[in-house]
């Protein structure tokens, strides 16, 4: 057991997976000798050689397209897209190829790939280094989408993703790479070394895909959340003095419908938080799921707290993505409903 940052945990996950299975291959822009711009793959080329960890041309469609071909051959590529914002050139390969090859070939060909990408804002990345495109993946049948919120989960979920038989989009909240974000803009990030989830086994373990985690038990309102916003929700519940149950979804597809339904039926209230834009964001799906399956248990309207429907701003990012004040106000509002 070691104290790890999320970067180290992700690296350790790839290391364990590559050690266990010779077929696991890692590639992407800068991931070889340099170890990736966020250093997630540092040391892997040295340990496993250039045949299994190598740099790729700056061609996201090429990276994912090549990974699909490799997976069809029978190896397991885990590729890195430098920022989630850069996945758009690969969107065709992800959503119309990787997602459907099993289906359209009636299981003759399968393409178990993992596409890792740093996601979300909060590091002054501007509109091309801060996006949260998870809803664009969740709308597509045939791919899975994972967004961890801490180093322990990141490693266990990544190993599960690499071993999964389906294509997995693995979105890493870059705001959490070095420490948990406590939801407050004016406070420094606490290093993961001081946080319980910084404790990560060095050896192989998995966290299953499709299972949510209850981060805080509560009786009054269910908060559905994932990634960076888990910490904002925690701070909000604390400061608003609301007995909120915080559910960290961990994977948005497959979605842990049972965990959501169980919690909302218990609390009768639901607040949904994500930093992606609001309209047609994944929160809309969560709202629909809750409305469809828990309507008669609800005691208040469901509220979404999200990023705004604008491109991601550079200087004003703290006003842009939800903080504990906005989330706290939403919690208080649902509690006021009769």
């Amino acid at each position: 057991m070691s104290r790890m940052t999320m970067i180290q945990a992700i690296r350790s996950g790839m290391d364990n997976a590559m050690e266990k299975d010779d077929n696991v291959v890692v590639f992407g822009e800068d991931v070889g000798f340099f170890g990736g711009v966020f250093r997630c793959t540092q040391g892997l080329q040295e340990k496993y050689g250039r045949q299994r960890c190598f740099d790729a041309p700056i061609s996201e469609s090429g990276i994912v397209g090549a990974a699909i071909g490799m997976a069809a051959y029978g190896i397991r590529p885990c590729v890195e897209i430098q920022f989630a914002d850069y996945m758009y050139p690969a969107y065709d390969q992800i959503t119309q190829e990787a997602s459907r090859i099993r289906y359209r070939s009636a299981n003759d060909f399968t393409v178990p790939i993992v596409v890792r990408m740093p996601t979300g804002g909060g590091i002054f990345g501007g509109q091309t280094h801060s996006q949260s495109p998870e809803a664009l993946f969740a709308h597509v049948s045939g791919i899975k989408t994972v967004i961890p919120s801490n180093p322990y989960d990141a490693k266990g979920l990544l190993i599960s993703a690499i071993e999964d038989e389906d294509p997995v989009m693995f979105l890493e909240p870059k705001r959490l790479y070095n420490g948990p974000f406590d939801g407050h803009h004016d406070r420094p990030v606490t290093p993961w070394s001081k946080h319980e989830f910084g404790e990560v086994p060095d050896d192989y373990y998995t966290v299953p895909l499709g299972k949510a985690a209850v981060r805080r038990e509560g009786a009054d309102v269910t908060v559905l959340v994932y990634g960076t916003m888990v910490y904002v929700a925690e701070a909000a519940a604390e400061e608003a003095g609301v007995d909120a149950e915080i559910i960290d979804l961990r994977t948005i597809l497959p979605l842990d419908l049972e965990a959501i339904e169980e919690s909302v039926r218990k609390t009768g209230r639901c607040v949904i938080v994500h930093e992606a834009t609001k309209t047609c964001g994944f929160g809309a799906e969560l709202m629909a799921v809750v409305a469809e399956s828990c309507f008669y248990h609800l005691e208040a309207p469901i509220i979404r707290v999200t990023g705004y429907d604008t491109p991601y701003p550079h200087a004003h990012e703290w006003e842009y993505f939800p903080g504990p004040k906005r989330v706290g106000d939403a919690l208080k509002k649902v509690m006021e409903a009769a």
Partner: protein, 410 residues
């Protein structure tokens, strides 16, 4: 004050439109046998000319000449002719089946049969094609059953793809045929990835990627070239230039200055143009490129110069945009006729034998159709169970899909 004249956009146009009399006499067709045959470990720059000429083996007198000739014996050539005639008979019947409403859609390979039929003979079991549509010859020249292809076209109860794909979008891992996508060019880079995987694993298999000349404008064409070049992937990259992308002539994707093959030169990939209507030339060039890939010398780009004699698909009417006589005026002739005449001149074939073979193949195709129709057609079942709609989306069906299937009562 500027004295510059206003600019205007240059938009290329084909030489002939409906009503025009096509005249290809000014199209430069190099002599058969003129192109050199380099060693397989050649560098791209050393064979630059091969990206601009057309490698031809059969000359106008019906002889096979030059350094690319004499790679196939009589039996292999007769088999090649049979393969092409089979494709033509299959196409004719399935085109008719579409007109009869037995399926929604069909795409024939009329005029292009030599390319896939000859290429497949250069491959070995275990190699993988990443095809585009119109390469049915890759399957029809192997032992893949015609009935299975028809079952797929009919989306019937025996369709190996469970009624999920457009007709002609075949798939068979066992027969080296990757599942076809309707999104153009995506398979071009996937083939390169497959070849890279073979190299990573120290295997001896190679991949081929296929694309139409129009789709070379897609980004993935360029992704494939850069990856193939960078990692020296054991892949053969094929461009089938049949002159027309639906109604858009090849000059729109190409511009006027270059050939499609020449695009490989900038990547350092040996690039060749071949007469796609010359079975012998296609085989010779395919074999050269396949041997090169398998020997670890890296990728090859081949532009197969041919002509799409039919419409783009059964949904297309080529008379609306091109001259009626264009197909028959095409200077590289008909691949079936050319090989037939060559074999006759060689003294190993006759019109009577050809006629007999044609009849036999037409009967085989008709028999296969009868077998396939026992399993149903698109509008006249049986089909696979509707419950299969929910299968194979994921390895294991997630809860939301299980619930949807339950709601659908399936």
């Amino acid at each position: 004050m500027s004295d510059a004249k206003p600019l205007s956009l240059y938009v290329p146009e084909p030489e002939f439109r409906p009503g025009d009399k096509p005249d290809f006499s000014n199209v430069e067709i190099p002599q058969a046998g003129a192109a050199p045959r380099p060693p397989i470990d050649v560098e791209a720059g050393d064979i630059r000319d091969l990206a601009y000429t057309i490698i031809r083996v059969m000359n106008r007198e019906g002889d096979a000449v030059g350094p690319w000739a004499d790679m196939l014996n009589d039996d292999q050539l007769k088999e090649g002719l049979e393969d092409m005639v089979r494709v033509r008979a299959f196409d004719a019947r399935m085109l008719m089946a579409q007109r009869q409403g037995k399926t929604s859609f069909y795409m024939q390979a009329l005029g292009e049969e030599a390319i896939a039929c000859a290429f497949s003979k250069a491959l070995q079991p275990g190699d993988m094609n990443f095809p585009t549509y119109r390469q049915q010859g890759l399957l029809l020249s192997t032992d893949y059953p015609m009935v299975d292809m028809m079952n797929q076209i009919y989306s019937n109860a025996a369709d190996p793809l469970k009624g999920r794909q457009l007709p002609i979008m075949y798939c068979s891992k066992e027969h080296g045929f990757f599942t076809i996508s309707g999104n153009l060019a995506t398979q071009f880079i996937q083939g390169v990835g497959w070849a890279m995987a073979s190299a990573i694993k120290g295997d001896t298999k190679i991949a081929t990627s296929w694309i139409g000349e129009g789709s070379t404008a897609e980004n993935d064409f360029h992704s494939a070239l850069v990856f193939a070049s960078t990692y020296r992937a054991p892949v053969v990259l094929n461009i089938v230039n049949n002159q027309w992308a639906i109604s858009t002539f090849q000059g729109i994707a190409r511009g006027k200055a270059a050939t499609f093959a020449s695009r490989g030169l900038g990547f350092g990939i040996p690039s060749l143009r071949v007469d796609g209507n010359d079975y012998l030339a296609v085989y010779a060039v395919a074999k050269w490129a396949v041997d090169r890939a398998r020997a670890g010398h890296g990728p090859t780009l081949i532009e197969h110069v041919t002509y799409r004699m039919g419409g783009h698909s059964t949904s297309d009417d080529p008379s609306a945009y091109r001259s009626k006589e264009e197909a028959t005026s095409w200077p590289l002739g008909d691949p079936v006729e050319r090989l037939k005449e060559y074999l006759i001149k060689r003294g190993v074939w006759s019109d009577a034998q050809h006629h007999q073979m044609q009849e036999m193949l037409e009967m085989q195709v008709a028999e296969a159709q009868k077998q396939a129709e026992k399993n149903g057609t698109l509008h006249d079942g049986p089909h696979s169970s509707p419950a299969t709609v929910f299968d194979d989306v994921y390895h294991e069906m997630p809860l939301h899909l299980r619930r949807q299937r339950q709601e659908a009562g399936l």
